[in-house]
């Protein structure tokens, strides 16, 4: 007893000291960034706001994709490498349904209704594809060593890309957009129509998702399955269906992101999922993988970081965009490995 007490007394101050240093560095970094932001704001307030809005728009799209990573990781601890490509397919499906089938993009008022219908269709298509990949591949590997489903996800990523290549061809394609250029003019600031639409679509989706997970029976089943599959079975929860449902939710969000991306940037590429997927995955990790609010926060943060870095007078510029994002990710992982809102893994039993 006496020995352990002495040991405890010995080791505690040391630990506390290190924690203090880490917190100090963290706070110093935050203060530095804040000063840098204020500096930029003073140098050009209008530009600052415009850049922030563009960052927010991008961040909302990242957030929608990041949710798919975090939902699937949260329930079966799989990093779904194919998820970025599912997003890419969402944008390609949108180009096919909205432009080729519905002939939207002519500037008529009916386009808006067609876009809404397309949103529902594309969300359903991506949900269906995600369920299919779970049913055909991951479900069979649920009891296999962790590497097997991971490699399978890489394989599915290639299948999705091939599918995108088939539908979209090997080069980038441009499409007419429903959302017109320009935006809402508020004094010196112009809020792009696309920014407004992205927010108007994303916020309700996030609220619905949060309602499903927190309040519904299916959501309860998801949370229980995420914590202990066998215990969930003993409660009468259909675990297979619950996991499939989770894939459906993630897929639907990726589909919505695909549509919003196309309506913002107007292009499709068969390999667009790689880079965006990677950044959205980073967002999920940054926010704390497995945590839904974390994914949204991470997505918006990375969108803003990229926006500020690429667009502000004292930023590093667009070619440094990825470097800055990943530097920030690495710094965060050093100081807070579980992510901003993630729980330390000790809690996981």
């Amino acid at each position: 007893m006496a020995i352990t007490a002495v040991e405890a007394a010995d080791s505690r101050p040391v630990l506390l000291g290190r924690e203090k240093v880490e917190r100090g560095i963290g706070i110093a970094l935050l203060v530095g960034v804040t000063i840098w932001l204020i500096w930029n704001f003073i140098a050009g307030p209008v530009q600052f706001v415009n850049v922030a809005l563009a960052g927010l728009r991008l961040g909302a799209i990242y957030a929608l994709i990041a949710l798919g990573y975090t939902l699937v990781y949260g329930i079966i601890e799989l990093i779904n490498f194919a998820h970025g490509d599912l997003f890419m397919l969402g944008s390609v499906f949108t180009s096919i349904v909205l432009v080729k089938w519905f002939g939207a993009g002519t500037g008529s008022l009916a386009d808006w209704g067609l876009m809404l219908v397309t949103l529902v269709i594309v969300m359903a298509m991506c949900a269906g594809l995600n369920i299919t990949s779970e049913r055909v591949a991951y479900r069979r590997l649920r009891r296999a060593p962790k590497l097997a489903p991971l490699i399978t996800a890489v394989g599915i990523s290639f299948i999705f890309q091939w599918f995108g290549l088939l539908l979209n061809g090997s080069s980038q394609k441009s499409w007419p957009k429903v959302i017109p250029d320009g935006g809402l003019v508020l004094g010196p600031v112009t809020i792009d129509w696309s920014t407004i639409i992205v927010i108007v679509v994303t916020v309700p989706l996030l609220l619905i998702l949060s309602y499903i997970v927190q309040r519904t029976r299916q959501g309860k089943a998801m949370r229980a399955t995420a914590q202990d599959q066998d215990a969930a079975r003993l409660m009468g929860i259909n675990v297979d269906r619950t996991i499939a449902f989770t894939f459906a939710l993630g897929g639907a969000m990726a589909g919505a992101a695909g549509l919003l991306y196309l309506e913002t940037f107007g292009t499709t590429r068969y390999d667009a999922g790689f880079q965006l997927g990677l950044i959205a995955f980073t967002a999920a990790v940054l926010g704390g993988i497995g945590n839904l609010q974390g994914a949204v926060l991470g997505g918006v943060l990375i969108g803003l970081i990229q926006g500020f870095n690429d667009g502000l007078p004292y930023g590093f510029g667009q070619k440094w965009s990825q470097t800055v994002v990943f530097t920030i990710l690495i710094l965060l992982m050093v100081f807070k490995p579980e992510g901003i809102l993630g729980k330390p893994t000790i809690e996981k039993v």
Binding site: R217, K220, A221, R223, A224, Q227, D228, D230, A231, A232, R233, L234, M235, G236, I237, N238, V239, D240, K343, E347, V349
Partner: protein, 250 residues
């Protein structure tokens, strides 16, 4: 005289509620249980005892559909359970408080109890059962909004039993419900099991604490290395010195 081979079925009239017939259970290629048959009749407390690794938990897992028997069959109220999935077996009326408690650590006590009633729609019935389990375990009422993972081992054990009861099962499977409890609480748990039975739930209980289990049980099965060693009415078994010494570590 021993309680063995005395055509036990004759002492238990009527159709069995749960009937396990000649099942073989494997983990990979390793047999955990071979040729086990057992019966549980309505209104009974039946205990399944045996030393560590005998296959008791494996048997309960098979009844709940968490592992599939390689041979043999399990039926409940005349309906075949083999081949059904876990959630379908809960629907049929069998709930389990598993070994190691397996409560949902990041949910509150209250949410854990709600999940126990996941398949039920009868609001009044659920409320009544909630009141009943909180009366059985007043400790849980005190901690109703605490995260289950932060409770003490004994409290978690109570929660596991309470959660299983929230499913309002016809048959309750308990895997070592006295595990990790202080002696006073062990007595309380065994009293509670009797109360649960008196309130109309049939109980199959696995216990390390064999003598205590035999005291409250009507009928007992003794497993050894995955095979049935003994079966018979519980009371005489508890009094048989030879059996106690040989199988129950008495």
């Amino acid at each position: 005289m021993t309680a063995t081979e005395s055509s036990p079925a004759s002492t238990r009239p009527g159709e069995p509620m749960l009937s396990v017939d000649d099942i073989a259970l494997y983990y990979g290629n390793i047999a955990a249980v071979k040729g086990l048959s057992m019966r549980v009749h309505k209104g009974e407390i039946v205990t399944l005892i045996g030393s560590n690794g005998a296959g008791k938990s494996t048997t309960l897992r098979a009844i709940s559909g968490l592992i599939k028997p390689r041979a043999g069959s399990i039926s409940f109220n005349g309906e075949r359970l083999t081949g059904k999935q876990g959630h379908e077996i809960v629907k049929a009326g069998i709930c389990q408080s598993p070994e190691g408690r397996r409560i949902f650590p990041r949910m509150t006590v209250s949410e854990n109890l709600d999940l126990g009633a996941f398949l039920r729609n009868d609001k009044e019935g659920i409320a009544a059962d909630r009141a009943r389990v909180l009366e059985l375990f007043p400790r849980l009422a005190d901690r109703i909004s605490q995260k289950a993972g932060t409770m003490s081992g004994g409290e978690q054990q109570m929660l596991a039993v309470a959660r299983a009861l929230m499913g309002s099962p016809q048959l309750l499977l308990l895997d070592e419900p006295s595990m990790g409890l202080a002696p006073v609480l062990v007595d309380l748990i065994f009293d509670t099991i009797e109360t649960i039975r008196d309130q109309g739930t049939t109980v199959l209980v696995v216990e390390q604490n064999a003598l205590a289990a035999l005291r409250i049980a009507d009928y007992a099965y003794v497993l050894e290395s995955g095979s049935l060693k003994l079966e018979g009415p519980a009371a005489p078994m508890a009094e048989d010195d030879e059996i106690v010494r040989a199988y129950l570590g008495g």
